[in-house]
Symmetry: C2
Subunit: 138 residues, 2 copies
């Protein structure tokens, strides 16, 4: 299951991308419009800022803004920040590889085989999708 954190995060990014002018967008506005608990959303946007995807401005008239063009923000990055590793098992993770304790030979492991395929196909989607795709109004 996709976590609420990721779901909310994606919706928030989309909301920001869709707000045309480049004024920072306030958490409160996003929370209200997208029906997300504000305090929860605060934490999520903070994570996205620390990961370099969002920038922020404090104080009155502050808020969050995109650090790059929507078309430059890849889902691989967003998903890794929000949801964690894309692979379903550490032994097929590109960025967080870990050998299984059991499993003497990965080439013979059926789980490994299947999960490599799933990882590659999911990765293919995320690599070819940007925030611009998510937020277009087609």
């Amino acid at each position: 299951m996709l976590s609420k954190k990721t779901k909310y995060g994606l919706k928030a990014l989309t909301f920001i991308a869709r707000s045309e002018d480049d004024m920072p967008v306030q958490v409160g506005k996003i929370a209200k419009s997208e029906q997300i608990p504000q305090k929860f959303l605060e934490g999520i946007l903070l994570t996205l800022r620390k990961a370099g995807i969002l920038g922020s401005k404090k104080g009155k008239h502050g808020g969050y803004y995109l650090r790059s063009e929507p078309s430059e923000i890849k889902m691989t990055d967003v998903m890794r920040v929000l949801e964690g590793p894309i692979a379903m098992v550490p032994c097929v993770s590109l960025n967080y590889y870990e050998k299984c304790d059991d499993c003497p030979d990965e080439t013979l492991c059926s789980v490994h085989r299947l999960m490599v395929e799933v990882r590659d196909s999911t990765l293919n989607v995320f690599r070819n999708t940007t925030l611009a795709d998510l937020s277009s109004v087609d």
Copy 2:
């Protein structure tokens, strides 16, 4: 993350598929060979039997066997039984569709868009992979 249940289930199915003769295979044998807690595995195989993927024979010399040829056992079915719906959100699930409470228009929802793509690509893998693929020794 892939659950242990699914991981163990896949390994067990592979083990059974690889045991050439068509004698039933005992839980204890699988558990020992694959390093899976036996009692835990019992429950998993029971689930697979109730789903019609495995058959069982009770009593002495009993055990579990495949109900179909490995090449006929699709990962779509196995994964749905072990891991649940393939879609990451109910609003894109083919078999367990549920509308989101929020989200007035799915066609405009960025999460929906992205998750449809992920579902389709994952489904594509599972539809084209059978237990025979997992258990071959190539």
